[in-house]
Amino acid sequence: MIKVEFLGPIGEESLELKAHTLSDVATQLQEIETIAPWLSKCAVAVNDQMTTDLSMRLKSGDRVSILPPVCGG
């Protein structure tokens, strides 16, 4: 199972999903009404490493973090 966590203001509980790639994660998140609108403006980290590779292979226990728009300072 893959753990998906939603950071900052998204305010959703973490999920456990079955997924072999980030693409699989995308497909499933797009179907969640409260999550889908965030996806176009969110970045992604896998095990705390930022990534832009949708075909990235995932293994059981991996953590996927969804990072909404930021404003530090």
């Binding site: 950071l7 900052g8 203001p9 980030l22 994660v25 995308a26 998140l29 797009q30 996806l39 176009s40 403006k41 969110c42 970045a43 992604v44 980290a45 705390d48 490493q49 930022m50 990534t51 832009t52 949708l54 973090s65 969804i66 990072l67 909404p68 728009p69 930021v70 404003c71 530090g72 300072g73």
Partner: protein
Amino acid sequence: MELYQGALDIPSIFNRWLKEENSSNYGAYIPFIGTIREENGIEALSFDIYEPVLKEWFDSWVAKAEKLGAKVKMAHAIGDVPVHTSSYISAVFSPKRRVALELIDEFVEDFKANAPIWKYDVINGKRVYAEDRSTPMSGSGLLA
């Protein structure tokens, strides 16, 4: 990298950093201090931070600065920071003035765009995500 609950004690951080590099033979020290402005009726801003990714981001800047013979430092507040107090200080140390002036600009801009920190207005004790002032990080939209 230093994270603190609530407003930063800027004089103490500034002075400690100055002392830490006192014998490093840097010629230029440029801090950037961010203070909460009183506007839109807010009583404070509030911050969430995702520390593991922030640390990755910061460490890549430490490495980048090192290649230029320079050093970067930063501290940020977590949680509520009242107006007229400070949530952020970062700094560049460098032997050379030009390197320091360019680096502080790039560092602060990239910080604004890519540090995993979320800002909320605090109005009547309620936290409201500052969505209009927030920026999607590099690579956003991957899962859309």
